[in-house]
């Protein structure tokens, strides 16, 4: 076995150990608990009290993810009308910038929207002395949808803009643009759109940070409460089983879609000068979706800046939380650096077996683990004399790694699958060793993927709450923990200052990720050649000017 193969195998083992380790440790503890107390096995089943909570969680997540994806599709197709000639590529890149907002934690949106609604109520919009009701399931749904919207737009952009251009154009010759969208573009984009919707579903169903602020109890919070009440990891693990089964089913669906959704797209999915003529009803819906996107972008900035600006103690708050800010940045940076090599190994492993649903399921299943359960699992694994990491700063880093490694693997796989095989074949011919080829050809070609993955890992760990809240060492707190604690005392100007710091850090990292992802997936304008499949749909090769790629 060559050293390169050993490194790949080691990286893959590290990926599975980091992603599955906490849950395996917890599963082992739960199994021993059930052996000691067989009656405890019954807690794996939902009770009369938890059934409605589970149903509400699934319904809520389904509604939020579907709404976000529909809005994303409307926004992307609506913006296609703005494309004109040479500005098309720039317009596409500008749309990728929306992805930068995906790193803003949802509870920051919650604070912004709550304070905005309070301010609007103060203007007397709802009548003198009356407040606009902004609480409960609908408020939580609105905020969650808007928090997910940037990610939904990015997923819709990937799905829709990589429908092979020639297939769309062949339809345009026959039918109006609305029919082409309905019968050709959407069906061809469906696997990626469904996969995106499933990803948003998992994010929503496993997150309790927004819903708990609006007094809506979801199942993910139940797990945290179960652990907090008894401090019994095994009981918390058993109570999480129903939610994990739901999530595993969704992941299994994703694993079936992945091979089709993640296949290398034909480049040049968009025609530079194409300006579709949509039906009037669709145009109205797109207009509404664009207004919602504008609100999702503008409201957090305006609201938090307004709150922070009126705060007499803004600078004092910043000074008091310098430790938390520095600690958060250090944890996030460490987590993404630790997660990258194993994620790369997993990405290369998936690339070697792109049509294996089992491999995809194994790589994606950690996305179905509730964050609080990962935290509890880490304590179970490392609160031992053998590996006494509990109580150290390694724990929040490991929590971040366990949370983001699967996503980073998917991003790196996406970049790997987009590499021109001819370039890699040439590398294999001329390399002096596999390491030489990897170092001089493969890794430099994957650089945009590394930058994107690092930035995504950084920003997700920066906003991570569920696991960090459980494993943070005594006396240390991350910025998100401080914000979340403050939020439960009521929205204040101090929280707004901290949220602004988090927002700016997330935006900076998100901008780096958006630029890198845009370089990976973005509209290549007039570069238009690639074989698709046996059907042989490709771009134009007669004219050298169009052959581009």
């Amino acid at each position: 076995m060559t050293s390169a193969r050993i490194a790949k195998a080691g990286g893959l083992a590290a990926f599975f150990a980091l992603a599955y380790g906490p849950i395996v440790a917890l599963g082992w503890a739960a199994a021993r608990f059930v052996v000691r107390s067989p009656a405890a096995a019954a807690t794996m089943l939902p009770t009369m009290r938890t059934w409605p909570i589970l149903a509400r969680s699934v319904g809520f997540a389904a509604a939020v993810s579907a709404s976000a994806m529909v809005l994303g599709v409307l926004i992307v197709t609506g913006l296609w009308r703005l494309r004109r000639g040479a500005k098309a590529s720039r317009a596409s890149r500008a749309l990728w910038a929306v992805l930068a907002l995906a790193g803003v934690p949802p509870y920051v949106h919650a604070l912004a929207w709550t304070s905005t609604m309070t301010a609007v109520s103060a203007l007397g919009v709802a009548g003198a002395g009356r407040r606009i009701p902004f609480t409960g399931l609908y408020a939580a749904g609105w905020v969650s949808t808007l928090a997910l919207l940037p990610l939904a737009v990015a997923l819709a952009l990937v799905a829709l803009e990589h429908v092979p251009r020639t297939l769309r154009e062949a339809g345009q010759l026959e039918r109006p643009d609305g029919a082409v969208l309905r019968w050709i573009v959407l069906p061809l984009a469906a696997p990626t759109l469904l996969m995106g919707g499933a990803l948003l579903f998992l994010i929503t169903v496993l997150d309790y940070s927004v819903t708990s602020l609006y007094q809506v109890t979801l199942y993910a919070l139940e797990i945290f409460v179960a652990f907090s009440e008894k401090n019994e990891a095994a009981a918390a693990a058993l109570s999480a089983v129903p939610l994990m089964v739901v999530c595993a089913v969704v992941v299994a669906g994703m694993a079936r879609l992945m091979p089709r959704a993640m296949q290398a797209p034909e480049r040049g999915g968009m025609s530079p000068g194409w300006r579709p003529q949509w039906p009037a009803g669709l145009r109205r819906a797109q207009g509404i979706a664009l207004v919602v996107l504008a609100a999702a972008v503008i409201v957090p900035f305006v609201s938090l800046t307004r709150l922070a600006a009126v705060s007499p103690a803004a600078l004092e708050t910043l000074a008091k939380t310098t430790d938390e800010i520095v600690y958060s940045l250090a944890v996030a940076l460490s987590a993404c650096l630790v997660a990258l090599p194993p994620a790369l190994a997993a990405a290369l492993w998936l690339h070697d077996r792109p049509r294996s649903s089992v491999a995809w399921f194994a790589a994606c299943l950690p996305l179905a683990f509730p964050s609080s359960l990962i935290g509890i699992g880490l304590i179970t694994a490392f609160n031992t004399p053998v590996m006494p990491l509990h109580g150290t700063s390694a724990m929040p880093v490991l929590a971040g790694v366990a949370r983001v490694a699967p996503l980073l693997a998917l991003l790196l796989f996406a970049q790997r699958s987009r590499l021109d095989p001819a370039l890699l074949d040439a590398g294999r011919v001329f390399q002096t060793s596999p390491w030489h080829g990897a170092r001089r050809v493969l890794l430099p070609l994957m650089l945009p993927g590394f930058v994107a993955a690092a930035a995504v890992g950084f920003v997700l760990t920066l906003g991570e709450l569920g696991a960090t809240l459980i494993v943070a060492p005594p006396g240390r707190a991350t910025l998100t923990m401080r914000i979340y604690t403050y939020l439960h005392f009521g929205a204040s100007d101090s929280v707004a200052v901290l949220c602004l710091v988090l927002l700016l850090a997330a935006l900076a990292a998100g901008a780096v990720a958006a630029a890198a992802v845009g370089a990976m997936w973005g509209d290549k304008g007039d570069a238009g050649v690639a074989d698709v499949d046996g059907a042989g749909a490709v771009g134009d090769v007669d004219d050298a000017g169009q052959a581009g790629a």
Binding site: P164, G171, W183, L188, D526, D533, G536, A537, V541, Q546
Partner: protein, 216 residues
């Protein structure tokens, strides 16, 4: 349908692909465009189809301007009364072969569209292939389906971009005969792009030589 192209210019970045090209094709005429790779043949067809917008000049169909530089309004491809076989088959992988061929027959009821689609498939030697999916076809069969799709709607202007490339030589004469029969039946105008002079002779009609974005 009468096609009139006047002083057509098209560039991609700094590269000029069509440079003041003018061409008239009378109603019912067959015009074969020959030329080497990179001469702008495919771009010309894409401009006629409305898939690209010219930087200068104009294209008229039956006297109506359908393509001109901004701010003029472009007539969308499906509203031009054209059918086109793209250089590559571009079959929609989620549709059956028959669904691909009948996609442009929205004006017909389902049964009528299916009958036309099956007839066109039989014309190109693919009777019984309607239920297959594109991935179940060979490259040559996919080209024949694309040709059947272009012939199915009986549009007054037919644009054919290298329709017989990748088709077995033994079948070429048969397919040329199919195209000829359909054109005689419909009286459609044809612009046929090929780099093969012998194939151009088989199509008949007027031959035009393109080089460096101009008609020679």
């Amino acid at each position: 349908m009468n096609l009139q192209i006047t002083d057509l210019t098209f560039a991609r970045g700094d590269r000029t692909i069509l440079d003041g090209l003018s061409l008239t094709v009378a109603s019912g005429e067959r015009c074969v465009i020959l030329g080497p790779s990179g001469s702008g043949k495919t771009t010309l067809l894409r401009l006629i189809a409305g898939l690209e917008r010219p930087a200068g000049g104009e294209i008229r169909l039956d006297g109506t301007v359908v393509s001109a530089p901004p701010p003029a309004r472009m007539t969308p491809p499906h509203a031009r009364g054209i059918a086109m076989a793209l250089q590559f088959p571009a079959l929609w992988p989620h549709m059956t072969v028959l669904d691909n061929v009948t996609f442009g027959l929205a004006a017909h009821d389902r049964r009528g569209a299916q009958a036309i689609g099956e007839a066109r498939l039989a014309d190109v030697g693919l009777a019984g292939y309607g239920g297959r999916y594109p991935h179940q076809l060979s490259g040559g069969e996919a080209k024949r389906v694309a040709l059947a799709r272009a012939l199915a709607p009986d549009r007054p202007l037919l644009l054919l971009d290298e329709p017989l490339v990748h088709v077995e030589p033994a079948l070429r004469d048969t397919l040329l005969a199919v195209i000829d029969a359909r054109l005689r039946a419909s009286g459609a105008t044809v612009v046929y792009v090929t780099h093969d002079a012998a194939e151009g002779d088989g199509v008949g009609g007027r031959q035009v030589w393109m080089k460096d974005g101009r008609v020679q």
